[in-house]
């Protein structure tokens, strides 16, 4: 008896669980949601705390984030602050041996930068070229780093070259950047020259060693060298600076101030 009634009910209504509603006479609330096919450009919903602070506009400058070395996990944060140009440096096919023959993928190297102190480098491997390029652009935006520029000689005008000699190494390739006088231009091979142009460095001498034909290592090595410009402690940074609060502390509800 109970079985037949439940069976009859099952025919009339779907099973009751979260999200499954019986037929409605009232207008569907769910109808307000756009169809899955018609995608208008999606507005970004931040996921991390830093993303939420940026989306609300509480962080004015990206250097507030760089100062505290906070990990940036969403590339839309970078998009908010900087207008970056991107360029694909190389797309190289790579293969891997599998049980069913070879699997070919495409590896894309993309460099992004604003030609004025920020560069990023992204590498992405994917089965299709377009996917690899768009993935590499996202990876590049996530790796954007500030570049410190200095002077070769007299401190006149705007900084134009690397502040000190720096070198970066990746694999067997070591790239050394040396300050150069104004007007020299970028004295480098094609690959690091592109990166340095995007960084906004005007004049620099370079010296490289190792198997520079492996483009991946070559471009990584010069990227690491550029990164080290801000890691190098020069005498003009000796003066002690007052500690300021991290963006998390500054914008949090300061519970200690509230009276319980």
């Amino acid at each position: 008896m109970a079985d037949t009634t439940t069976a009859a009910q099952a025919d009339q209504k779907p099973t009751r669980a979260f999200g499954r509603q019986p037929q409605r006479g009232a207008p569907q609330r769910g109808g307000a949601r756009p169809q899955r096919g018609a995608q208008e450009p999606k507005s970004w919903v931040p996921v991390t705390k830093l993303g939420r602070l940026v989306a609300q506009g509480l962080i004015k400058n990206i250097h507030e984030i760089y100062l505290f070395s906070l990990p940036i996990k969403e590339f839309q944060i970078i998009d908010r602050f900087l207008h970056l140009k991107d360029e694909v440096m190389k797309i190289v096919p790579v293969q891997k041996q599998t049980r069913a023959g070879q699997r070919t993928r495409f590896k894309a190297f993309v460099v992004v930068g604003d030609h004025n102190g920020h560069v990023g480098l992204g590498v992405k491997c994917a089965k299709e070229v377009a996917t690899a390029i768009s993935g590499a652009i996202v990876a590049a935006k996530l790796s954007v780093i500030p570049v410190r520029r200095g002077y070769w000689g007299n401190k006149l005008g705007a900084p134009h070259t690397v502040p000190t000699k720096v070198t970066g190494k990746c694999g067997s390739v070591a790239v050394r950047l040396v300050p150069a006088p104004r007007g020299t231009g970028i004295v480098a091979a094609r690959v690091p020259k592109k990166l340095l142009q995007f960084a906004g460095v005007d004049d620099v001498y370079t010296s490289s060693r190792g198997k520079t034909r492996t483009m991946g290592n070559f471009v990584m090595a010069t990227f690491f060298a550029i990164t080290k410009t801000f890691a190098y402690l020069t005498p003009d940074l000796w003066r002690e600076v007052k500690l300021i609060k991290t963006p998390y502390q500054e914008h949090s509800a300061i519970l200690s101030e509230k009276k319980e």
Binding site: R16, A17, F18, G19, R24, G25, R29, G30, A32, R33, K42, W44, V45, P46, V47, T48, K49, G51, R52, A55, Q56, P71, K73, V92, P93, V94, Q95, K96, Q97, R99, R103, T104, R105, K107, L121, V123, C125, A126, K127, T131, S143, K165, V166, T167, G168, C170, G171, S172, A174, R176, G210, K211, T214, F224, T227, K228, H251, S252, A253, L255
Partner: protein, 443 residues
């Protein structure tokens, strides 16, 4: 075929529909209880670490068809306001179909226009209902002595509510004969109260069902390099990986990110080019301590160390090798529906979304404290919820500072009924606590 139900927040909603009679699924505001004769008391909802009352985050109405005790079933999520605690609690209540608060066909009747009249005409459904605190929504012991129409759970909440605006309302409420507290905002004669900062912003949740098409790549990559007898090797042994391989449709290599150790470059003609690893001996591995006494050599060597910064803590691996696969999968899935806040799936094949490879849920999930049976994953809450809760605030108004990566809720498999305590003198607990696990983003 794995089905998952996604939840999205909705700002425009009918406030009166988010009350007990409608079995709402919602975020924020005051908690709406199912079993109205056994409403949780304030003391049951204290944070275990700081012993302050927890704030109500969200609730979902998730009935189970097979179990007749859980014809109506609600799961409430509470969180401690203090970010240093980081304590979350998941609480489950349920009712059978025949009960003393709602008619047996309430689930269909709630869409009718005269659903509210039903309760007015049949007072047996409302007479046993306990009162809830006007400030926080818990069980209310006492009422305001001025108007006697508003209830509070504790003196603190009465004082807070008085300051929020009940002081202006009290006298006016005393004179009104028929009080419907829910319609208080519509009654123009009574001044409105300010919104308390104890409650989160109230939002409705609408759901959408989705078939999961993308699965995470398996964590252990079994790369076999045998070229012969490929069809035969998989019949024995590797049946588990085969079933996993059948599940992953596209994700095998597409997003097997930069697993480049096996990759060989090809030049223009398609011939493989092998990279040479020379020069590893360039860097001395003894931490920079020199052996020679030649000052020039030492000078050059120290120059080199200074330039390369080998002693600086710059980690090259952040760019190349270490990829958090869980985070990559998370970003990919979330990208399809950026504003989802809830993922519900009772399917045991559902790949639980994590935000980091480390600190995932402990493997032996604690068993149900009420009946001892195993707990099973039910749903998870995504961090986009925090974005929707903050939307109108300057941070001065927002007294919450909570942050999480993902919250996963595991509930009792048998959805057991609350056992009544016959040994103690206190009344039985109003709910069953379920296991909630919080995972943060990796720093």
């Amino acid at each position: 075929m794995v089905n998952v139900v996604l939840g999205f927040t909705e700002k425009d909603f009918n406030k009166s529909q988010l009350t007990s009679n409608y079995f709402p699924t919602k975020v924020g505001g005051k908690p709406v209880w199912l079993d109205l004769s056994n409403i949780p008391k304030r003391e049951e909802l204290f944070c275990e670490k700081c012993s302050k009352q927890m704030a109500f985050l969200m609730q979902i109405y998730a009935p189970i068809d097979e179990n007749e005790d859980s014809f109506h079933r609600m799961v409430h999520i509470f969180c401690c306001k203090d970010p240093r605690c980081g304590y979350y609690a998941a609480v489950r209540t349920q009712l059978p179909q025949v009960n003393s608060f709602y008619p047996s066909d309430a689930d269909e009747r709630k869409y009718d226009e005269n659903y509210e009249d039903l309760y007015k005409q049949q007072p047996e459904y409302t007479k046993n209902r306990q009162n809830t605190c006007d400030y926080c929504g818990c069980f209310a012991k006492s009422n305001c002595s001025g108007c006697k129409k508003v209830y509070y759970c504790s003196k603190e909440h009465q004082q807070l509510d008085w300051e929020l605006g009940h002081s202006e309302q009290c006298k006016l409420l005393k004179d009104l004969n028929i009080i419907d507290i829910n319609n208080l905002e519509e009654n123009k004669k009574i001044p409105r109260k300010r919104v308390s900062d104890f409650l989160f912003k109230e939002l409705d949740i609408i759901t959408e069902s989705l078939e999961l098409k993308e699965f995470p790549p398996p964590t252990t990559t079994t790369t076999t390099t045998t070229t012969t007898d490929d069809k035969n090797t998989n019949t024995n042994g590797n049946s588990n990986t085969e079933s996993i391989n059948n599940l992953k449709i596209d994700s095998d290599d597409e997003y097997d990110d930069d697993n480049d150790e096996d990759d060989i470059d090809l030049d223009e003609n398609g011939n493989p080019v092998y990279k040479n690893e020379i020069g590893k001996e360039l860097i001395p591995t003894n931490g920079g301590e020199t052996m020679t006494n030649d000052p020039e050599a030492i000078g050059k060597f120290e120059d080199y160390i200074g330039e390369t910064g080998k002693k600086a803590e710059f980690n090259e691996e952040t760019f190349t090798k270490i990829k958090d696969k869980s985070l990559i999968y998370f970003k990919r899935i979330v990208d399809n529906d950026q504003d989802q806040i809830l993922r519900y799936s009772k399917d045991s094949n559902y790949p639980i979304l994590w935000v980091s490879d480390t600190d995932q849920a402990p493997e032996p999930i604690p068993q149900c404290s009420n009946c001892g049976s195993n707990r099973k994953f039910e749903f998870q809450i995504l961090p986009q919820l925090l974005y929707f809760l903050d939307m109108d605030s300057t941070l001065a108004n927002n007294s919450f500072d909570i942050d999480f990566g993902i919250l996963s809720i595991y509930t009792c498999e048998s959805s057991c009924q609350i056992k009544s305590n016959t040994t103690t003198t206190t009344t039985s607990p109003s709910f069953v606590k379920e296991y909630i696990f919080k995972q943060d983003f990796k720093k």
